[in-house]
């Protein structure tokens, strides 16, 4: 048993943190939010140059082949920096979907471009308020190689070059299809979102040319969501940790009633509660990171637990960080709302808690057979 990052992974973490604190401080994050820029192009180029995007992509496909635990390390740092980058869509979703599809031709064509950051991919799965796991009720359909339907919200849909679209085929099965978002039959409409740095789009497909990646969507999509949720959990934990640090810092500086507010138990225990939730989430996420990289049968249980714990930790940390900051915390110029937005955006990205709750308990039911 070895339940920590390796020294090499810790080096990756330290370098990522250094780069992001230099190139992606909160002023920049806020500036991009004000400009409603869907992502930070300059930073994207930098992280691509540094090879981050290829971390978990195999060397055969132009990546570094460092494995998914290393990508978790980077995810945590991206979350901590609130980095406005399409990493989740392009890597955790699109690249993973391509790998799971088993379509080596398309992998050969697209993975190197994702690893280099030349192309941005995404997953077009959601259809409004339908849970993402509810594949049988999707309305998007492919007929004769042409895809039609409405996907909403599509993460980073307005900047993605292509999407892996989950849709029904002519036989009622669920397939994964590659669609060029720059091609014909695709109408993309950016949406206002809670976190402009996690942009989303509505995409209307009208007979858009679609190439089948895999007809086995019913098997692949849950697994894809499990895998992506682990990486997102690390982003959530990174964000929550940064929020906690921000709240602690303020609680040490701010005075009321002649004392630092952090000396009041109402504040101190609130921060202890935040810390507790974060460490609970982190330990669950460690287990899930192992299961992700090992492709262990424990992944379903571990991913659901990591997802739920990380979502709860980030939501709590974000809202209570505002509260610790008092009135200042509710202003645009202060940082806390950046966490509040991001926590909600990531919490909504891959189904909400009741869906994961059910998956988690299904696994426990299996474990404790009657």
């Amino acid at each position: 048993m070895d339940f920590d990052f390796s020294d090499e992974q810790k080096t990756i973490r330290d370098e990522a943190r250094k780069l992001l604190s230099a190139r992606c401080d909160r002023h920049r994050v806020r500036k991009l939010l004000e400009d409603k820029a869907p992502y930070d192009k300059e930073l994207w180029a930098t992280v691509a140059e540094n090879g981050w995007l290829g971390t978990a992509i195999a060397e055969d496909f132009g990546g570094l082949g460092l494995g998914h635990v290393s990508l978790c390390v980077i995810a945590e740092e991206l979350g901590r920096a609130l980095a406005p980058l399409p990493v989740s869509s392009s890597l955790y979703l699109a690249a993973e979907a391509l790998v799971l599809s088993g379509d080596t031709t398309m992998q050969q064509e697209l993975l190197p471009a994702l690893a280099s950051g030349q192309l941005i991919g995404t997953l077009a799965l959601s259809e409004a308020m339908l849970p993402q796991h509810a594949l049988s009720r999707l309305k998007t359909r492919v007929v004769g190689g042409q895809l039609s339907g409405i996907k909403l919200p599509v993460p980073h849909g307005q900047i993605a070059d292509f999407a892996v679209v989950v849709a029904h085929n002519e036989n009622g099965g669920v397939g994964l299809y590659h669609v060029d978002l720059r091609g014909p039959g695709v109408e993309t409409q950016p949406l206002q979102t809670i976190d402009a740095a996690q942009p989303q789009a509505r995409i209307v497909f009208r007979d858009a040319p679609a190439r089948l990646l895999s007809a086995d969507g019913e098997r692949i999509v849950p697994k894809l969501l499990d895998r992506a949720s682990v990486l997102i959990a690390f982003e959530q934990i990174g964000g929550a940790t940064a929020a906690l640090e921000s709240a602690c810092e303020y609680a040490k500086i701010r005075k009321a009633f002649g004392r630092q507010i952090g000396s009041f138990q109402a504040i101190k225990h609130k921060l202890a509660d935040m810390y507790t939730k974060i460490e609970i989430a982190r330990s669950n996420a460690f287990y899930a990171a192992w299961a992700l990289e090992a492709d262990a049968p424990e992944l379903a249980l571990a991913a659901a637990a990591a997802r739920l714990a990380a979502t709860e930790a980030f939501e709590f940390a974000a809202k209570e960080t505002i509260q610790v900051h008092g009135g200042i915390g509710a202003t645009w110029e202060a940082d806390p709302h950046l966490f509040y937005r991001r926590a909600r955006a990531l919490g909504s990205l891959l189904d909400s808690t009741p869906v994961w709750r059910d998956r988690l308990v299904e696994e426990l039911e299996r474990q404790f057979a009657a």
Binding site: Q192, W332, S348
Partner: protein
Amino acid sequence: MDFNDTPEEAAFRAEARTWLSSVAAPRDTRTSFAIGQETGEFEAEFPAQRVWQQKKYDAGFGAIYFPQDVGGRGGTSLQNMTFMQEEARFDVPVTAHFMIVNRGCCSLLMKHGTPEQKALIPATLRSDLIWCQLFSEPAAGSDLAGLRTRAEKDGDDWVVNGQKIWTSNAQMADWGVLIARTDSNVPKHKGLTFFIVDMKSAGIERRPIKQLTGASNFNEVFFNDLRIPDAHRVGAVGEGWRVAVAFLSGERTNIAIKELMPLIGGIVNLARQTEINGRPAIEDGEVRARIASFYIREAGVRFTVQRMLTALSRGETPGPEITIGKYTLANLVQEMTAFALDLQHAAGAVMSPAFAPFDAVFQSEWFGSVIDRLGGGTDEVLKNVVGERILGLPEDIRVDKTMPFNQVGK
């Protein structure tokens, strides 16, 4: 114990309903359940709100529990609550924000004002005059008594220098209520004095504060040698704290009486439209448990207000129970709206009104809930109030309480 209207109450309710029907359309509570938090663009909405308040005032419903000699109806708080219940059934502007301050100022002036000051009341109740509240400071939020804005006597005037923050309505206010330090040589609660301020005076600068939502409903207000005539002092010199505390407890009560049932109805309807585990979310046990918990707290606060009104109508002094209302509801709204976003699954982060359920109202109320947890006393400050003033628990250790203000932090 009787929850029904008495004949007199029923008559008043009928009168209110008749009048409201004659001037407004009914509200569709299935789709309209925004609770009007500080999220919108207040400046844009303000003119319609003022007109509606003036209309109510002219019909005898704008200042129900104020005595007739200051331009009120001479009715009761219970009638006011009844009117609010009826008003919530109609599609009319929400005037709560600025009227909290306006009414608070009127109550204050009735009790502590000079005849000249009292003359401002009728126009204020009609909202011909708009007031703002100049209390909080960057370094004096929860610890309001730690404020630093100074007022120094100069002849018949006071000369004020300093900065206030979180002032809503400052852009359009005609008058303000101000608390300032007039003596730094005494402990912090003792050196404060209360004033009214003509907001057209020289020496006042307003700067809007951009909130986390992007809107700007609050302001910073700077005083540079602002001159206030001594005639605008309210209460005795050094008695400002007592006056301000009375003012603020009114604000908390107002936040406690927000009408949240429509929001609960909105969640019930949302839960019918979204699904969990292949079935309508409303059938899911967790969803039901959460909704039940929302209702219990909402009803608990609502009926606590009724207990308060009963005491008032019996001529008794209401108990302290309503103190729980402000933080209970502020947290409740944050929890309810976050839950509503959860129910929307991936669409929960969408804010485009055309594509988010119910015009993204849950999304914007979720942002606004942040502010309600802070304004009018944070959760933490109010729990101290409950612990100390209601339960009689010993005070926190207050290192600066008896120290002369100019020695604090030295």
